[in-house]
Structures are given as structure tokens and as C-alpha cells.
Amino acid sequence: MKDEISRDDRVANLKGMGCSRKRVEDARFTQGKGNYVDDIKLDGMLFGDFVRSPYAHARVTNIDTSAALKVPGVLAVLTAADLAPLGLHWMPTLAGDKQMVLADGKVLFQGQEVAFVVAVDRYAAADGIDAVVVDYEELPVIVDPFESQQSDVVLREDLVALDGSIPPGAHGPRKHHNHIFTWSAGDKDPTLEVIANAEVVAEASMYYHRTHPCPLETCGCVASMDKVNGKLTLWGTFQAPHAIRTVVSLISGIEEHNIRVISPDIGGGFGNKVGAYSGYVCSVVASIVTGKPVKWIEDRMDNLMTTAFARDYHMTGKIAATPEGRITGLWCHVTADHGAFDACADPSKFPAGFMNICTGSYDIPTAFLEVDGVYTNKAPGGVSYRCSFRVTEAVYFIERMIEVLAIKLNMDAAELRRINFIRKEQFPYKAALGWEYDSGDYHTAWDKALATVDYAGLRAEQAQRVADFKAGKTRKIMGIGLSFFTEIVGAGPVKNCDILGLGMFDSCEIRIHPTGSAIARLGTISQGQGHATTFAQILASEIGLPADSITIEEGDTDTAPYGLGTYGSRSTPVAGAATAMAGRKIRAKAQMIAAWLLEVHDNDVEFDVDRFVVKGSPERFKTMKEIAFAAYNQAIPGLEPGLEAVSYYDPPNMTYPFGAYVCVMDIDVDTGVTEIRRFYALDDCGTRINPMIIEGQVHGGLTEALAVALGQEIAYDKMGNVKTGTLMDFFLPTAWEVPNYETDFTVTPSPHHPIGAKGVGESPHVGGVPCFSNAVQDAFRPFGNIHTNMPHDHWRIWQMANKLGLHG
């Protein structure tokens, strides 16, 4: 048979790894044809919504639902008393704590769910909510975690023994009735000793403010209990549908095979949709009670005020160095404000997530980290907003400590980074706080970044600007923000990563159809990442069928293999690996089929793009399309018919993407207005599957980083009232506020991942936040700034300038 097209064309036709294949999802998204949970409409569907607490801390002395039940269209009002006989008035959290589904005698944060009104539509439900009368008896409110650990006020009476003693929590002993856990990593005494004896020690205390992932689509679900066959179907905004199925089974007692969880199209997650919320439980109960499907959809205020927040870390650091700038030790203490219930979404053994990646990209021989988790009267959460488990906090911490040390040493911060980077030949590198970094080439990335932006030229321009400012020629100062980050993603190895006891492997199942097309199902779920595009590309390269002939399906637990879902940049590192491994199983069987068809030994054929060829005789081959058909119509001795494979992939290690970012910013010291003149982002995510999608991910992550650094916060007043409950005050950047981003890359594959990919979705957020913040702080460095907390919104920048005497 003569080869009709060139090998290059055959490669191009596959649209495999490395090509900027257009997103197959976008045809429906750009035409308004997506199918989100609020698009689901079922016959007789009811609508449920919450009566929420106006108080941050109060006893609930009475709930009168009688008037609400008279509102036309209202069918039921559930309270904790109704859920208690089912044992569903509380539910377990992902962090080993438990939380109220509906207020059980008291409320602990503003917006807490008090009663669930079920009505024929959302209008009747809203009227019903207005008619529920709740009597509250206000209690002292604590919004400060330091005050909380000193206070006599007991937030969680359920966690204090009858004799007044404090039983241990899920993560060991507790020091106070409002204390949750102490968690540490590294060597305490050696670190203290290094710091005590160091010639140079820089210190800083920084507050990484509370913010919120704020996906465009809020959280919601539709629960439908079929009382005839006993099956529960639950559609919802779930980043981990299988885990939700298991959790629902465990807490409801419904056998897991009778539960089908479906994540339809999801409009962004960013960690907000990992946990389990009261709305899910109440919708399921309401469907069981009424026998009808029940929908619950948050509005924007509900989402911002009550579903999982991110950050709220008070971090104190000491960094020791030689006078030449060689870092010798790092100490970090965190007071973590977890709100009213510990509902952080972290692997079970990591109550502070992967905060112990806080030695960053630097070869720091000695380090110690200690984290104290604390209860306050704020909403629960503590999710990884576009990052892997607290990595954003860790990277912000170290990238600020580097800047603070540079100030102490009177040294250039870029040079300080360079002399402390882990060197290429040190990988795999065992960090002082326990992790083993898989691969990296930091110096190459850093040099490329600094050369591209003409770093020396920028510093010269900045010096001139400082002189002009001091001479009264300008009121604008200039900042150069640097950040070099190392992420830790792809959770994770089952030996140390689980959620509620479920190992954090992931999965892929592939079926090749006789005509040479395929469907692959995964345990993950895209929320905008473009899985249907990229996973097909991985498979195309692995099995030699065009990506356009491969359907990717996720999110239906009745059809998809078990997996732990999508968050923490784990889809490519874990499910992507499973996909490649399942593809290789397909290929192994295809090789046997090809050899049989070509009448040669299995070892005499080799894979080439889209076919197996006889070694040394490239004109003798069988295409994967031909092999697929043969799998279904040939009786091949010793081989089962069909061509299918499944892989459950337990990653041997995490992956460690890294990057070098530079931001150039002008700041008006009178108005506090910032202008980003340039933003350069070099990412190394290992093997690149789809450069266009990577670029999109980088743009999105940087935009969320800009938001967090420059103004996005969940702020409370002293009474525990949320001050930023709408998008008027909660900063969600639009195209207007977003600068032009320049993206760049190096490629350092992961040595342990089947295709060398490391994950990229969260890197730009992790690296971007310190870069924007460092730009602001660097602008004020010549005027005496050492550290100032984010968010750097207009008035706080004005305040920085004011404190430094720049207003005359």
C-alpha cells in the first residue's frame, strides 16, 4: 500500500499534543447552548431557598414557620428539628470537623442557613423566606482569630466536653476552646538556632486577606428522588462528583449504587465547588419528603457570603542569611482563620494544605512551619482558590520574605533570588519541609525573563523616576514586581493524599469504536479548563486516532470511572496520566492485532504516529483505524475481541510547575490608582499539551491574581457583618481593568509523569498575586516601605503613600 500523505501531515491530522487545537467546548458556550445546573428543568420541579441569619453569633430561640406555610406556593419549611431525626442537621466537613446543615440552636456566621423553604417556584420561596419568623438572642461576636484564642466566649459548644475540658480534634490536641489544630513541618530547634546565630535576619508579619473564588456561576443543585426505584439523581456544581456521591451515601444511608451524581457544564469553580453545602443536603431531603425534584441555586450574595472563602492567613516569618545573601534558614508561623466550622478542602493529612511548600524555589537548608487553625464568627471554607491547597499563601509568603530580606541586605531582589535558587543539577530536590521537587531549571527561566523585560533598563528608569519624584517633577512612582514561584500540584500519591479516606488517584476509561473513533471517560470534571479538547489531544498522540474522532465525557458517576475530580491543578498531572496510561494499554493490544494482521511477531512492529509498521519495512503497516475494525471482526487467537482499556493512576509524586513573572506598574501617589504598564509571565508547566489553552489559563489566572492583589476581599466589620457581599464592592475585574499579558515558556518535563506534563491552570494565580503585590511594594521601597498588606486598592495605596510622608 502506498503512503498517500506525508508523515508531517499525518501528525498534523491527529491534532495531538503540542498543537493549539481550538476548544471543542466553545461552540456551545459561545452560542448560549451550554447546559448548566440552572438550565435543568424537570416536570414538577420545586425550588428551595434559605432563611439566613442576619447575625454573626446568636442563639436561635424560636423559629415560627406558620406564616410561611400559608404563603401561596410554599409547600414545606425545613428546620434543624426536621433534619435531626434523620441525623442530617449536621454534616461532616472535608477537614474532619462537622458543620450545621441548618442552625441547631445557634448561628455562628452571618448568612448561615437557618431554614429551608420549599415552594413551587423561586418567587414563592422568596416570599416564604420573608414570612419565617426567627427569634435571635445576640451573642458576642469574634472576627479576629487572635482575640478568639484569648476569649472566654465559646464558639463551638459542641466541641467542649461536659466537664469543660477541650477534647482533641481531627488533627490532634487543641489549646483553647476556639482553637482547631496545630500543625507543623520541619525542624523547630535547628531552625531557631540558625536564626539565633545568623548574621542577617529579616522579619515580617503579613496578612493574606480573606477573599472568595467567585465563579461566574454560583453553586446549586437539583435533587430528584425516584421513590419507585429508590434512585437518587443529583445534578450539581460539583468539582468532585464521585466524592459527592460517596459523601451523600455515607451521610444519607442511601446505597451508593442508588445514587447518580451528575456535574453538567460548570461555570467556573476555582475551589468554590469542591465542598459539600447545606443546599445539597436540604435539596435531597426536600426531594425525599415531597417526592418531587427540588432545585437550589445560590444568588450572588449567598455565594459571596456563605460558600467557601479562600485565604485568611496571618503569617509571621523570619528569614536568616549570610551578609552575601545566601539564605540559611526560614521560620514561619501561621494563624489560620477558618471561620465557624473547619470546612477547608485539603487532603486529610494536611490541615494547612501544602503550606509547607513555603521554602519556595530556594535552596533553604533549614526550615520550620507551624500553623494554628482558629474558629471565628465568619463563614467556613478555606478552599484553594485557583491554587493547590494553600500554595498561594505559601508562595506569597516566601516571595515577600525574599523582598524583605533584599531590603535588609540592601540588595537587588532579582539577584538575591538568583543566588538562592535550587540549581538544575540538584533535582530531584528534597526540600527542608519535606517535599521532593521533581524537576526544574530556575536559572534559565529567570535569565530569560529578566533579559526579555530588560531588567537593568527598568531599574535605571525607576531610579530616574525616584529622582524626578523627589524633585517634584512627577506624582507617579514606578514599581517593578518580581516573582519566581514553584507550585506543587497533582494531588496526589495515595500513600499520603486522601479526602475522607478516598485516595487521590484518578482514572480514564477508553472505548475504541469499530470505525476508529473513540470515547474516553474520566474521573475529573471540566469547569472551563477545556478537558474535552486537551484530553483528546493526549489520546490522539498516544493511540494514533484523530482528536476530532475522540469524545471526552466527564461528570456522570453512572458512566465515568471513579475519580477525585478537578481542583488543585490535578487533572493533567493525575487524570492526564491515567489517560496516557489507558491509551498505552490500547496501543499494546493494537500492536498485537497489527502483528497478527501483518503476519509478523509482536516485536517486529512499531508504532508510528497513527499506525503500526513492520520494522524496516515502512510500506507494510496497519493504521489504527484498520486495527480498530479488526478488533471487532477478526478472531485473533489468544486475544479477546474489542478494544477498550481503563487505567487508575496513582501518581508517584506531585508535579512542580514553576515560573518567572515580572510586572511593571505606575502608581499615582495622590489617588492610589495603579496602572500596569507591562506584565510578563514565563511558565514552565513541563510538556505543553495545547499552547492556546495554556495561554488562556495564564490570562485567567493572572486576572484573578490581579483581583486579589489589588482589591478583591471579603471584609467583615466588628459585628461580623459582611461588607463586600455584592459585586459592587467585591472586585471582579472586567476587560477594562485587565492589562495586556505577555506569555512565554520554558519546557522542563516532569520525569515521573507519563507525558511529562505538570499542570498550568493555577500557576498564574499562584505566581501572579506576589508579582502584583511586589510591584506595588517595590514602588514604595525607595521611600521606606518594607511590607504592607494586600489588597492594594486605591485608598490603601494612598494610605501607604501617606504613612511614608509622600503627601507633603
Binding site: A126, D127, G711, A715, L727, F731, W736, E737, H794
Partner: protein, 284 residues
């Protein structure tokens, strides 16, 4: 974010509107673009039992540019203000200000009548109308009356309009001289941290008249007569600018919110006004 039940009315003329207002009193509200009122209803912060939609009422649209004044119907949208070529020549400050309101989608719906009638201190048009010395036409059971913008605003959401009246038009004396609308905001769609409207006349290097109004720095828009007076007779030099800013600061009364503390708002107001005057003067 679900409003309480209300009755929806869609009268065909002003008489129909007035009849509904007379019948339902303060339980009724007229709606033009709805971009202030509907969010308030969704938040259940405003109890509206009868919503009177003005969109079918004749005579409320159109921009008429006369020789001495400009008349703008209450239903003219911000987008129409921006797109009107002759208005951009006659009163360019309207276009400059409207472009700084919200985003294009909102500007297609939001109207000048709703913006000035609602009495929201965050809205941009009220201060601008005070700067331009506009007057508002109010139609009521006893016919029409004119109220000066500078007399219209009493407190947040409280205006000289009675419950049985509807604002039908805005009339602006033909502006003269240079103009500027300067606004600091946190992001697109936000109310001003501070905003200043300035219209100024240059007579041979000397300022012969100046009108200055500030937005979102008090519970009403602030027309600062003293700030304008501080410029008149000067060459708008640094001393005059300082005097104008100082006079303006006497007239505003900002409160702390998420945009910042009072000290910052006063500082920003001063900077914004100074820039507005400088830009207006450069065009005068």
C-alpha cells in the same frame, strides 16, 4: 435577589401615568430604564406595589438643541447621549460624563431621567446637572413645574419631586467655555470614589465664570458655589486652584465606606477637582 410581587402598569401617556400615581400614591413608582429601581426591588430594599413602566409614554424621548438651551426627554438613554453628534458639540461634558457611567450594556438601558430623578448620591448626572444649572420638568396633577437641579436634591433618595409627580424632561442652558468631568472609581460599573463636573469660561486669560459640582461625596450631589467663585477673576493659577479646592472641601461631607476613609476621600476629591479644573481651563 427575588422581588416581592407587584402590579405592572404600562400607560400610553402622561395622563395615564399621573392617574396611576394619584390612585396608588407612594406605593407606586415610575420606571424608565430600571437600572436603579430594579436592583432595589430585587434586594427588597424598596417596596413597590405598582410599577409604572414609562416606555410606551410618548413625548419623553428626543434631544432638542435650541439656540439657548437643550431639552432632553427623560427616557433618553446614556447611550443616546453618547451617540448624539450635535449634542457632543453643544454640550460635550454630557458625553464625557456618560462615557464614565457603568458599562455599555447598562448605558443602553439607563436613562437620564431615571438617573437624575432617583436621588442616588452615587449617580453621576445629578451633580453634572447642578454644574450646568439644568432644570427638571415635573408633571403632576396640577400641570407642569420647573425645579432647578441645584434645588432638587434634599437627602439620599429624597428630592423635591412629590409622589404624584413624574420627571419628564431635563433642560440645560447652552453651556459656554471649557468643560471636564473627572471621575475616580475602583472599576467599571462602580460609583465614584470622587467625581467633579466643571464648566468654566475664559475671557482673555481671566476666568469670568465657573461652575463646580461634586458627586458621591455627600448624601446629595454638591454644587459648590464657593469653589466656582474662587476661580472667577483669577487666571486659574495655583493659588486659585488651591482656593477652589479648599472651598469645595468645606462643602462636601463624605462618609467612610469600602472606597476608603473620609481623609482619603477628601484628598481624592481635591486631586480630582484640581485635574477637572485644569482640563476644563485648557479647553476654555
Amino acid at each position: 435577589m427575588i422581588p416581592a410581587a407587584f402590579d405592572y402598569h404600562r400607560p400610553k401617556d402622561i395622563a395615564g401615568v399621573l392617574a396611576l400615581l394619584a390612585e396608588h400614591g407612594d406605593t407606586a413608582r415610575v420606571m424608565a430604564g430600571g437600572h436603579s429601581l430594579i436592583p432595589m426591588m430585587k434586594l427588597r430594599m424598596t417596596d413597590v406595589q405598582h410599577l409604572i413602566d414609562l416606555q410606551d409614554v410618548g413625548g419623553l424621548s428626543g434631544i432638542e438643541i435650541g439656540s439657548t438651551s437643550i431639552r432632553i426627554g427623560a427616557l433618553v438613554t446614556q447611550a443616546e447621549l453618547i451617540d448624539h453628534a450635535r449634542l457632543a458639540i453643544a454640550a460635550p461634558i454630557l458625553r464625557e460624563a456618560a462615557l464614565q457611567i457603568a458599562d455599555p450594556q447598562v448605558r443602553y438601558m439607563g436613562t437620564i431621567g431615571g438617573n437624575v430623578a432617583n436621588g442616588d448620591p452615587g449617580n453621576d448626572m445629578p451633580g453634572l446637572m447642578q454644574c450646568l444649572n439644568a432644570s427638571f420638568t415635573l408633571a403632576g396633577p396640577d400641570g407642569e413645574r420647573q425645579v432647578a437641579a441645584r434645588e432638587f436634591y434634599e437627602a439620599a433618595y429624597v428630592t423635591a419631586r412629590s409622589d404624584d409627580e413624574v420627571l419628564t424632561a431635563v433642560t440645560i442652558p447652552m453651556p459656554a467655555g471649557g468643560h471636564a468631568y473627572e471621575k475616580q472609581k475602583r472599576k467599571i460599573g462602580d460609583y465614584a470614589t470622587a467625581a467633579a463636573a466643571v464648566q468654566i469660561v475664559n475671557s482673555g486669560g481671566t476666568c469670568s465664570s465657573a461652575a463646580i459640582a461634586m458627586t458621591n461625596l455627600s448624601d446629595t450631589p454638591v454644587f459648590s458655589e464657593a469653589a466656582g467663585a474662587a476661580l472667577v477673576g483669577s487666571s486659574v493659577d495655583n493659588a486659585a486652584l488651591n482656593a477652589a479646592v479648599a472651598a469645595m472641601l468645606e462643602d462636601i461631607d463624605p462618609t467612610e465606606d469600602n472606597r476608603g476613609p473620609v481623609a482619603f476621600k477628601k484628598h481624592a476629591a481635591g486631586v480630582i477637582l484640581r485635574r477637572a479644573i485644569e482640563r476644563a481651563w485648557s479647553r476654555a
